[in-house]
Symmetry: C2
Amino acid sequence: MRPGILIFTLLVSAWAELLSAKVVAPPAGAQSTPAVLSELREKALHDPLAMQVLEGLTSEIGARQVGSENFVRARDWAVKKLQSLGFQNVHTEPFTLTAWTRGEERARIVAPYPQKLAIIGLGGTLPTPAGGVDAEIVLFKKYASLLEAPPGSLTGKIAVVTEPMAPGMAGYAALGKARRLGPAEAAKRGAIAYLVRSLGNGSTRLAHTGFMSQDAATVPAAALSAPDAELLERIADRGTPVRIHLELASSTHPAQSWNTVGEIPGATDETVLMGAHLDSWDVGTGANDDGAGVAIAVAAAKLATETRLRRTVRVVLYGGEEIGVAGPAYAQYNSKNLKKMIIAGESDSGSEPAIEVRLPAGGAQNPALADLSSALSPLAVRSNSEPSREGGPDIEPLNDLGVPGLEVVQRLDSYFHWHHTEDDTLDKVVPAELSQNVATWAVLLRVMADRNVVFERKAVEPAK
Amino acid sequence: MRPGILIFTLLVSAWAELLSAKVVAPPAGAQSTPAVLSELREKALHDPLAMQVLEGLTSEIGARQVGSENFVRARDWAVKKLQSLGFQNVHTEPFTLTAWTRGEERARIVAPYPQKLAIIGLGGTLPTPAGGVDAEIVLFKKYASLLEAPPGSLTGKIAVVTEPMAPGMAGYAALGKARRLGPAEAAKRGAIAYLVRSLGNGSTRLAHTGFMSQDAATVPAAALSAPDAELLERIADRGTPVRIHLELASSTHPAQSWNTVGEIPGATDETVLMGAHLDSWDVGTGANDDGAGVAIAVAAAKLATETRLRRTVRVVLYGGEEIGVAGPAYAQYNSKNLKKMIIAGESDSGSEPAIEVRLPAGGAQNPALADLSSALSPLAVRSNSEPSREGGPDIEPLNDLGVPGLEVVQRLDSYFHWHHTEDDTLDKVVPAELSQNVATWAVLLRVMADRNVVFERKAVEPAK
């Protein structure tokens, strides 16, 4: 458990008292009857807004890495989009960061068999010295084997980890350390560079980038495409020393970023937050990660609030999820104003269908939400009675400050084929699947903003 | 019809007389009884040689463009491989060509929405001037629309053709002109560069290269990945002028190449030729195009000739199919010695299963080959009674000199996802499918080399 946080439960009745101070609120639940939810759900399934938003973002902006000019264009695009759709209180909340910019990158096998290698630098990697590094590799077919290597055993070598990722989120979670922490672990053992098989389930020759630890003891690090990792394994299996030439150029600079916020005001001062992240990696056009989430959030919030509700629905388009800076910035910027934030969720798993919803602890057992399951079941979305888990880097800081979390689980059959690659483009999005997500979130936002329901909260000790 | 060629039929009986001069031949057909073919077929289905050959070629050589150092390494590798497998008369047949070498390539949308574009220069393209070209585009959603554009209508513009290719070989054949001839057609109308949607059926952001006409009136030309072609369509549909920056570097040099030949001698001076091409494009590792064919040819020839046969089985590994120079060179080098070449075929359609065999005209109706159909049917390969069509650039020059052609049609469900891209790597090959091709060709080579069967020939007028 983290310092500064302790868990207790505020009684639902105490919240009800707070709410009673508001008198202009419409009758709780009147806009989320089963019939109304059914109509909303069907409308959302056929609404073109999400696909229009996603088409616009990917066509007119494309890649939008935090700290880049294109991200500034994305921010302006998002502000205009929210304003044109009738969102209120549209604004940006600035914060500072260190931006990292990719330069030219290349790798090749020098010996025994000269061949090009398809790689991509990990996000935030150190550059190699000018002209690159040229060294023998030590290849580990399991990440655990690298961790077992003694200090000094990789001195002057390029460490290569070729462990394939198991499918889906479980695989990503299990092997994530090989990307995030592998460079520092290789450095500790004397390596001068690090190559890791892409975290992904595809077989194209487009490698997957992603965030790596900014540990001072790290080394230049890149991901290999899956075919290239397998090629290196086959060559290494022959028993001859393998030498690789690796060049990674990059630079860093102090930069500003912004979370972009828009609201559809409700009748009370309570808020329901739906997030997605506007930034992407510098490859692909961020269609699934997380243009889809942006489109789902904007469209679901718009559809959910076509009639006036008790609570404000706030859309937050985070500006820096990929390097983990936007969620903390949002939580810090708004830390004094979270008591009336009833629930917060984020769509950041691409555009494949939603399959499961998890409410905060106690939510699934709350009689006031007993009908949610039947409202979602026509979408083939089941209600999981287990409570929502902490969100990703955008939502977790809110969870840590007491805000209950709302979680929608999506299918990830293809997501990790494209994730963090040049292949994350609009053609990979199935419009009907995107709409199914919009319908799921529209129903959830409508229920959460219309009904007088509250959830158990973590409460936070005042900072010392 | 081409000058210098006329069709007539040499009587089968006349050939039989020629053959009777040989006395050391084993009894015709003794090594291709139904029981023997069945055993051969089953053995081939479980034989590891083809996959070993392909693994070696892709791992130890990789990309092997004609005119490159790596092609020379591939040639040496092939000579050693044939020798180590017991092929006789292993040799290389040299010829000269103009080699083309790719340099740095990049493209981006300059306006209205700055974005990178994923492209690859077409094989043999002119380079752009240093620093690239920067011009407004004229986008044609159909190649036919470009052809309808009047002279001068593209002056100073970059012509872009975004027509998608229909699936499989029919689609490739139908749209091939957009790649081969499009650059010259655009040039005729005043364009300064040409971009064409990749000839392919995949949706990755890896564009497909391939041969283009070396017409003097051509312009720098590259293929767009499918997602990028669609992106340009969406942006162009907005009606604002679109500007693109395109940089293509490349160089040409006089070079030598070689066809690599090996034989398993038979008891007569008659020959059955099985080809494949050793060269690949400079992207990928040429696993399907045409490493698979090399592996199939070598393994099928080896398996077919494990017992001594009447006729020599000759494997020719062509060195320059991708630019169309190897087949003509082979035919020219051997033009005086083709009368005893009974039949010639090539495997150059990747590694997906064989589905159909076509014999030369009359072959399907020849009682001496009536059992071939049942020998192949356990492989799910059907005998098409239509005659074989002319082979690709390697075999067609032999057909034109009178040599009958043998054709194996393969499934192409995935071939055009990888064809001529970085994605043509070993992991795309299914070993059991490769073996099914080996079994098909082993049966065919055994029958053709074992039986005293001959086919109608085109005969060629002496050169004037």
